[in-house]
Symmetry: C3
Subunit: 204 residues, 3 copies
Amino acid sequence: MLTLIYLIAITAEAMTGALAAGRRHMDIFGVAVIAFLTALGGGTVRDIVLGRYPIGWTQHPEYVLLVVAGGLAAVLVARYMRHLNRLFLILDALGLVAFTIIGCDVALGMGYHPVIIVMAGMITGIAGGILRDVLCNRVPIVFRRELYASVSLLVAILYLGLNHLAMPHDWNVIASFAFGLALRLVALWREWQLPVFAYRHDHH
Amino acid sequence: MLTLIYLIAITAEAMTGALAAGRRHMDIFGVAVIAFLTALGGGTVRDIVLGRYPIGWTQHPEYVLLVVAGGLAAVLVARYMRHLNRLFLILDALGLVAFTIIGCDVALGMGYHPVIIVMAGMITGIAGGILRDVLCNRVPIVFRRELYASVSLLVAILYLGLNHLAMPHDWNVIASFAFGLALRLVALWREWQLPVFAYRHDHH
Amino acid sequence: MLTLIYLIAITAEAMTGALAAGRRHMDIFGVAVIAFLTALGGGTVRDIVLGRYPIGWTQHPEYVLLVVAGGLAAVLVARYMRHLNRLFLILDALGLVAFTIIGCDVALGMGYHPVIIVMAGMITGIAGGILRDVLCNRVPIVFRRELYASVSLLVAILYLGLNHLAMPHDWNVIASFAFGLALRLVALWREWQLPVFAYRHDHH
């Protein structure tokens, strides 16, 4: 079940990555690279930071082909994607929660400290989008958008807390999804944002 | 032979990296760092992704000194380099093919899946240039230039295919070089480009 | 002693990272991420490059909490920080030297070649600031500021040289700090800079 959601999520992330590449007028190779990094970059950074080798997608070449295909498909259907905007926001929210839970599971299995487990969940959830934005030469949108990274943080804390309370894994996943999806969608709907820190004085 | 080409290639890549740093008015320390990353960054990213430790250049400090020297030399001869533009494009094409083949060899020797071997070749070929452009705060040129990353992709596939057909390594290297160099130089001459994906609607 | 300086330094680096995030109008989550990367990113890159697992901060979750707290505290006291500009420049110089020495020690303990040890010191000293600037979408300031990265380079060479001459570790640390701090502060005071390489001809 989590695997199916994961496959849907990396495909959706790849497609949104492709659109970001298109806004920079990249060629289709650049589109494929950005699609790959957006979808699989978060898990890659997590595995490197946790020292978990071999890295996930190197053992699943079919994931690589899937996200590249998703990115190229996005080029073909780009003109219709604006009508699917809401669908993609929901798939993106699904992906954010799925990535976060999977990241926590990986670090849990390696025996890391709870603070590091929460960070592993967040890295999996948001690092792909950060890599996409750095390669597209813009300030990462996850640092400025409606509650996004914070959803990942809260889902990771909830998931770890329920796990600590010995809730069965399946129920924990369902509860974390319900909470994370609801929070993200309400944040989108009500345009909830974290406080912004605007600093102007140039002290150097 | 491949080692000699590799040494020429990393020096040439370091020199072009130095010019990119000069366009951003960096100091000579920045020039040295960008030269290093352009020349050895691709192999570094490949080794980290494949989990191949120790990383190549940490066992070859002479490579580090060579590329830093190359970058600083470029500062001295910058005014003449425009006349050597064609020479550098040829050396850069040599480097692209050599890096790709070396990257494939590394992943082959570690027993990775063919899809991952091709990716290892491409990462070695293009990640250095991507790091250079990210640190110079511009959209990576490999995503927009005449056939470049695609040359790396096709060379990797050809090299792996001929290897699979049991062609002797030396012949395989020669065939891959002939194909890759010819394709890159014709692409430069005829200004072949991949289709560009220009996406304007801002769906966020 | 070195640990105490290290804790002061990562807190100070986190606070300056937070100000950089504030200049980009990031939300407080972005502030926390940039604070973390500025303070602990250098050690992370060093550990990944040297293949030293587990990575430092994953075994010290209290460091993660400290730098995040430092970053958020900077938001609260930002309006007073301009009056503390000199203090922060001194703390930043302390951090640069402390990071460099710690990085050299790590690579020394792993038996790397002297050239790689010097690079490990510099990576620890400056990579955090480079990550901060890349995520804030600007050309890394360490490539253009008054002697900064070069202070790290010279401290690393001095430290390694005195170590080679069998100077006791404590004396070596004191000598390296005295040299590094003095050099950095004089460079700030006299606005010493490395020569800048300005290259205008666009040869592509």
